[in-house]
């Protein structure tokens, strides 16, 4: 986006790392702006019914969680999602940006890094935030649309866990970035592959499991909250 030649990248997870929100907040925003009372009610009830399953899936396998969760998008129109994305960004995501998020992005920029967001959220949602925070590129999940409506499936490979690491590696090859000099930032143990694949990983706002791992591998720990 900036037309510069970069040697290294800084890959940021977003949810929990740069912002306090997650995919559920984004989905809730879409649901509550569905337009019809019955439409909202149906999706809220569906969401509540699925909540325990989502919780279990998220605990044990982020990939399964993502696949299950994005099924809830089935039937939402692409136009509507795009239209609501800016509103979602202004009302939900921007106020949830952690105080230190801009600082670390600026410091990466000053260190000569290309800024890339690498997130399991959907690209439509993340584009305005990436623009707001000055990211150069975005690696995110893309919903599959048929005739303008979401099918509830994500175009594979889904961006999560080990696939994030693969996407980052491929991105570095494609864009001439040095993986061993690149940085990655994440808050979650589910992003261990993403952190492990780069030469300069950093745990951000880490939970207990990631904190233990970061200590064991001697990765720096940041708190952007």
């Amino acid at each position: 986006m900036h037309g510069e030649k970069f040697e290294r990248g800084a890959f940021f997870d977003v949810d929990g790392t740069l912002v306090s929100t997650n995919v559920v907040h984004a989905y809730a925003h879409y649901v509550f702006n569905r337009g019809t009372f019955f439409g909202i009610a149906r999706r809220v009830l569906e969401g509540l019914a699925m909540a325990p399953i989502y919780a279990i899936a998220d605990t044990y396998n982020r990939k399964v969680f993502n696949e299950l969760f994005y099924r809830a998008y089935e039937g939402l129109s692409e136009d509507r999602l795009i239209e609501l994305a800016d509103d979602l960004n202004d009302k939900v995501l921007a106020p949830a940006i952690y105080p230190g998020a801009r600082d670390i992005i600026d410091e990466c920029r000053r260190a000569g890094c290309k800024i890339i967001f690498c997130t399991g959220a959907i690209d439509i949602t993340m584009k305005p935030l990436a623009k707001l925070l000055g990211a150069d590129d975005l690696i995110a999940n893309s919903l599959q649309f048929v005739e303008g409506f979401a099918t509830g499936k994500v175009i594979p490979p889904i961006v999560e866990g080990a696939h994030k690491a693969r996407r980052i590696r491929d991105y570095c090859i494609e864009h001439g970035l040095k993986l061993d000099l690149s940085h990655a930032y994440s808050d979650s143990m589910s992003d261990y592959p993403m952190l492990a694949v780069v030469g300069r990983p950093t745990a951000v706002n880490a939970d207990a499991a990631l904190r233990r791992t970061a200590r064991a591998y001697e990765w720096p720990l940041l708190d952007l909250r």
Binding site: A10, G100, D103, I104, D106, E107, C108, R110, A111, G112, C113, L181, H183, Y185, R200, T202, R215, E218, P220, L221, L222, D223
Partner: protein
């Protein structure tokens, strides 16, 4: 080991150098947060620090006198004009060690200087800790240093840490005749007057080093914080034998062309311990019954307390330092006056070098106040500070053996020393060559955004700082033939540092004699308080 009640006086009280005799007592040696009591061979030369120089009776009066009778400058009140902008830069928590009892001398000076500013109609005053690439001081530490009234009046907007990574926060004033970049804080260049408050604890401190390093950034420090500068320094505790100081003097002269600097320097005595811990500052020969009981009790407690608690105990006891000199005015003459007082306190005359030198490494260094003396800092104490505590001729002969007592635990503080961890475990296994480390990795660490962020927003040393710690030991590494660490709790830390290890002091002395010969002469530096040597032939 003989029991403590055999301790008795058998030495010349005027001399700081005592030869260990058959009847001499065992010697206290710090080993991190523990105190060893060790027999040393007969004939070992024990070098004690000078007794504390008598402190000034009225420090406030001495400060006022210095401000009114400055060196080669107008009195401070004559330099202050209504509406002017003043920056007061202050030495950080790395001085003195341990932190001194309150009120800190910096508070005493500030109370007088700020009153002078107010009386002169100077309202635009900013206080800044000159921490360079050191960690930011915490709010509590900043409050302790200047007192609660000044803290409440100036913090957080007008009492801050220097930020060497602030975008647009550093101004380049020029380049010296040998190409050193002169870069200091924009706050200093924007000010009509910079007042620098210094605490001189060792002769390395003060003078042009204060503004030139305390308020600069990574690019500014690259002029002299290099393995080349340290290799070219016979001792960085004696400015005239220090390439580091020659560099900061050149830089200081350029700063003086652009910035009006009024220096206030102070020198402290070495009264590190008093009260119940006063025995730590005594010779073992001078111990009374109470001292023996206190030492016994302390060793009993330290042997049983967990390391964290031991550390907390030592770090919570402030030192009873007394101010022995105050001077103010132009940087060079002011510093010369204070340097003389500092050297009078620190240096002990010693005849001839040692083949084997023994030193106990304590719990503290300038870089771990309220934190852990990690392996890299143990290294800087041994190869760096202890080796350099001389006036140009090292106490230890070339190729000699240094024996240090410290557990060398593989323990780091991720809050204060995050980049040290990577340096120690990723870089040292690859090479110990300071020139290679400097060329290949220093900039990468210095520019690592995570380390920059932790320096700017947390309380971490800058990413380049572990390199400086390694360079600081460079002339010691080049000079000494062998370093043996006694009582280490692991084998890999000494190995990574390039040291040998021994379980006991006796074993280490045998190892050293195996290398230096059976007739090798042995000296022991009796720290703390700190002792520096003026070695003559």
């Amino acid at each position: 080991m003989r029991p403590l009640d055999h301790l008795r006086k058998s030495y010349d009280e005027d001399s700081q150098v005592v030869l260990q005799d058959k009847d001499s007592p065992p010697r206290m040696l710090f080993s991190g947060e523990q105190i060893l009591l060790e027999e040393v061979p007969v004939g070992t030369r024990i070098i004690f620090p000078n007794p504390p120089v008598e402190p000034l009776a009225n420090v406030r009066a001495a400060i006022r006198f210095a401000l009114n009778h400055p060196e080669e400058s107008e009195p401070l009140h004559a330099k202050l004009t209504p509406g002017m902008k003043v920056l007061i830069a202050i030495d950080d928590i790395s001085l003195p060690l341990p932190p001194m009892r309150t009120p800190d001398v910096r508070q005493l000076i500030l109370e007088i200087v700020l009153q002078l500013c107010a009386d002169s109609g100077v309202d635009d005053v900013h206080l800044m800790v000159a921490n360079a690439l050191h960690r930011r001081m915490t709010d509590a530490e900043m409050e302790r240093m200047v007192g609660s009234k000044i803290f409440a009046a100036y913090h957080p907007d007008h009492y801050t840490n220097h930020d060497a990574e602030e975008p647009g926060g550093i101004v380049e004033l020029g380049v010296t005749e040998v190409g050193e970049r002169v870069r200091i804080s924009k706050r200093a260049t924007d000010a009509d007057l910079v007042i620098y408050l210094n605490v001189n604890f060792v002769p390395m401190d003060g003078g042009h080093k204060s503004v030139g390093t305390g308020l600069t950034d990574y690019l500014g420090l690259r002029a002299h914080h290099t393995p080349h500068a340290i290799r070219a320094s016979k001792s960085y505790m004696e400015p005239k034998h220090s390439a580091l100081h020659s560099s900061v003097d050149r830089i200081g002269k350029i700063i003086d062309e652009h910035v009006d600097v009024f220096h206030i320097e102070t020198a402290l005595n070495n009264r590190m311990f008093d009260g119940p811990m006063g025995f730590l500052g005594k010779r073992e020969e001078d111990f009374g019954e109470m001292d023996r009981a206190a030492l016994g009790a302390m060793r009993f407690m330290l042997d049983r307390a967990p390391r964290e608690l031991r550390r907390k105990i030592f770090h919570s006891v402030p030192a009873a330092y007394g101010v022995i000199a105050v001077a103010a005015g132009k940087t060079e003459p002011t510093h010369a006056k204070i340097l003389e007082a500092c050297q009078r306190q620190c240096f002990v005359k010693v005849k001839g070098q040692a083949d084997i030198l023994i030193a106990g490494i304590p719990f503290i260094s300038p870089y771990n106040v309220n934190s852990i003396l990690n392996p890299l800092l143990v290294q800087v104490m041994a190869n760096g500070y202890f080796f350099n505590m001389n006036r140009g001729t090292p106490l230890i002969k070339e190729g000699g053996t240094l024996i240090v007592t410290h557990p060398c635990s593989d323990e780091f503080d991720p809050v204060q020393h995050p980049s040290y961890i990577e340096f120690f475990h990723r870089l040292l296994p690859e090479t110990r060559d300071a020139l290679v480390l400097h060329k290949k990795y220093e900039e990468e660490f210095a520019r690592n955004p995570s380390y920059v962020h932790l320096y700017r927003k947390g309380n971490a040393y800058h990413g380049a700082h572990p390199f400086y710690m390694w360079y600081w030991g460079e002339n010691g590494r080049q000079h000494m033939g062998q370093v043996i660490a006694v009582g280490t709790d692991n084998t890999h830390v000494p190995e990574l540092l390039g040291w040998e290890r021994a379980d006991t002091l006796a074993e280490a002395i045998d190892m050293a004699r195996g290398r230096q010969g059976r007739t090798a002469n042995i000296s022991l530096m009796h720290h703390p308080p700190m002792v520096m040597t003026d070695v003559t032939e």
